[in-house]
Amino acid sequence: MKKNGFWYEIKKNKVLYAMFLPVAIYYILFAYIPMGGIVLAFKEFNYRDGILFSPWNGFKNFEYFFASGRAWLVTKNTILYNIAFLAAYTVFSVACAIFIAELAGKIFKKFIQSVMFLPYFVSWVVVAAMMYNFFNYDYGLINTLIKNLGGEPIDIYSNPTYWYFLLPMLYVWKWVGYGSVLYLAAIMGFDEECYEAAIIDGANIFQRIFYITIPMLKPTMIILILLALGRILRGEFDMFYQIIGNNGLLLDYTDIIDTLVFRSLMQVQDIGMASAAGAYQSVLCFVIIMFVNWIVRRYDKDYALF
C-alpha cells in the first residue's frame, strides 16, 4: 500500500476518522442532500413523484418569481436592513467593548455586562411579547406615557416608517451584549506594552483609544463584517417573523427573502415560488461571499475568509 495514499491515511488514523463520523453523517443528511434539492427550483413539484421524479419545467418558477414583482422588493429590503443592522451593531459593540475595557469600577462593569447579555437569552417570541408590552396601541407603556403627557398615542403596527428605526434598534438591543464580548475578548489579547509605551510618551486616554485600540481592533472588525456580508441576503427570519408576522400593512416595507420563502412554502403552499426564491437567495449569497473574499484576498491575504 502506498505510504501517502488515501486509504493508508484512513487506516492509520481510523479511530480519529471514526470520531468525526457522527458529525460528517449529520452534515451529509441535513446539509449536502438538501443542497442537491436545489433542482426543485427547476421542477414542477408534486408530492407523488417527489423531488427526483417530478417533471422539469425549466425556468418557469423563476419567471413567475420575478414577474410577481416581489423579487426586487424583498432583495432591496433584505440588503438595506442588513446594512443598517451591521452598521449599528458594529458601532455599538465596539464602543461598549472599549468603555468596558477602559473604565474603572470592576463591580459596576461586571453588572452592566451581565445586563447587556440578558437579551441574548430570550427568544424572539419573548421579544415580540415585550414589544407588545411597550407599543400596544391601547395599553402599551409608551402610549400610556404619551397619553399621560397629553399627546396622541402612536400606532406603530400600522405605520411602516417607524420600523426603519425600530428594527435596527431591536437588533442592537438583542445582540450588543454578545458583540461586545467578542470585541472585548480581542482587546484583552492586546499587548500591554504598547499602552505603557504610549503613556510614557504622554498620550492621553483618547489618543490611546484612537491610535492603538481601534487600529488593533481592525482585523477583528474586518473578519466579523466579512462574515456578516456573506449573510447579507439572509435576513433575521426569527426577528421579522415574530415581530411583524403577516401584518399586511407593514409587509411591503418589512418583507425579506426569508419571510417570502416561508410564506410561499407554509402558508400559500406555492412550492415553485418558494424553491425559486430560495435558490435565488442561495446562489446570490454564494456569489457575494466569493466576490467579497476575492476582493479581500487581493487587498490583504490575512484578512480573507479562506
Binding site: G37, C96, K109, T144, W173, G189, L265
Partner: protein, 292 residues
C-alpha cells in the same frame, strides 16, 4: 497611572454611555415582569405603567389552574434541551479534536466540508420536503433534537480553543504512555476544555430552549409542542390562549397580563444558567476562533 483631566472626562462619558445602554437593555425585562403582575382592571383603565398601583396574581393563577399543557411543554423543552445539548456538545468537541490533531492529514478538508454548508444551501423548500417526506421526521420528537443539533461555527471555535490551550507535547506524551486517540480525547482534551465547553454548551442549550421554528415547521401534534412554540401560539391569539389553558373562555379572564405572565413563565429557568457560566465567557470565545 497618571489620572489627568482626560481620564476623568473619559470616565464621565463612559459611565453615562454604559449606563444608558444598560438601562436600554434592562428596562424591557423589568417592564415585562412588573406588567405580568398588573391587574386586568388597572390595565384597561390606565394602560401598562412601569409601577402599577394594583398588583394581582390572577394571570399566574390562571396559568397554573390547568397546568397540564404548560407542564407538558416544559417537559418536552427540558428533555429536548438536555438530550440535544449533551449530544451536540460531546460530538462537536470530538469532531473539533479530530480537526485539531496535526497527524490527521485531511483535517483542513474536513474543516472545509463543514464550512461549505454555511456558504451554500438548497433553500428552505427542499430542506422541508426532504426532512418531512423522505426522512419522515414530521411529528417526530427526534426532529426537535436533530434540526438544531450542530453549528459549524461552534465546532470551529472549539477546535481553535483546543489548539490554543492544549500543547501538542501533552498529546505526544500521552501517546507514548500508550493512550489511544479516544482515551486522549476523554481523559485529557475534554477536562482541559472546560471554559469553552461551558460557553458553547450554554449557546447550544439556548438554541434548543428558544427554538420555536422547528416545531412550527415540523410538529402538528399538540403533545409535542415545546415551550416557546406554545408561547407563540398564545401570543398570536388570546382565544387560543383561552383554549390552551381552559376549555371555556371566561369573561373575567385577565387577557392582557396573561400574555406577559406566560412570557415570564416561558423565559423561566434558562436565564438562571447565565451567572454560572459568565466567568468563562471571554476566555471561552477567543476570536481567532470565528475564522475558519
Amino acid at each position: 497611572m497618571r489620572k489627568g483631566k482626560d481620564y476623568i472626562l473619559f470616565n464621565i462619558v463612559g459611565y453615562i454611555f454604559i449606563t444608558i445602554i444598560g438601562l436600554f437593555t434592562f428596562i424591557p425585562f423589568v417592564a415585562l415582569v412588573v406588567s405580568s403582575f398588573a391587574s386586568e382592571n388597572y390595565i384597561i383603565n390606565h394602560g401598562y405603567t412601569l409601577i402599577p398601583r394594583e398588583f394581582s396574581l390572577s394571570a399566574y393563577k390562571l396559568i397554573f389552574q390547568n397546568p397540564q399543557r404548560i407542564f407538558r411543554a416544559y417537559l418536552v423543552t427540558i428533555i429536548v434541551t438536555s438530550v440535544g445539548t449533551s449530544l451536540s456538545l460531546f460530538l462537536s468537541t470530538m469532531a473539533a479534536y479530530v480537526m485539531y490533531r496535526k497527524d490527521v492529514k485531511y483535517r483542513n478538508a474536513l474543516a472545509f466540508f463543514l464550512y461549505f454548508t454555511t456558504l451554500f444551501n438548497g433553500g428552505l423548500a427542499p430542506y422541508y420536503i426532504i426532512l418531512a417526506n423522505y426522512y419522515h421526521l414530521k411529528n417526530n420528537v427526534l426532529v426537535l433534537i436533530l434540526v438544531p443539533l450542530f453549528n459549524v461555527f461552534y465546532i470551529l471555535i472549539l477546535r481553535n480553543f483546543i489548539r490554543g490551550s492544549i500543547p501538542d507535547s501533552l498529546i505526544e506524551s500521552a501517546k507514548i504512555d500508550g493512550a489511544g486517540d479516544f482515551t486522549i480525547f476523554l481523559r485529557i482534551v475534554l477536562p482541559l476544555s472546560k471554559p469553552a465547553l461551558a460557553s458553547i454548551g450554554l449557546f447550544i442549550a439556548l438554541n434548543y430552549w428558544n427554538d420555536w421554528w422547528t416545531p412550527m415547521m415540523f410538529i402538528e401534534k399538540q403533545s409535542l409542542y415545546p415551550l416557546q412554540y406554545t408561547l407563540y401560539l398564545i401570543l398570536s391569539s388570546v382565544n387560543v390562549a383561552a383554549n390552551i389553558l381552559q376549555n371555556v373562555v371566561r369573561i373575567d379572564m385577565p387577557k392582557e397580563s396573561l400574555k406577559l405572565a406566560m412570557t415570564v413563565v416561558a423565559t423561566g429557568p434558562i436565564i438562571f444558567l447565565y451567572p454560572f457560566v459568565q466567568r468563562y465567557f471571554v476566555r471561552g470565545i477567543t476570536l481567532g476562533a470565528v475564522k475558519g
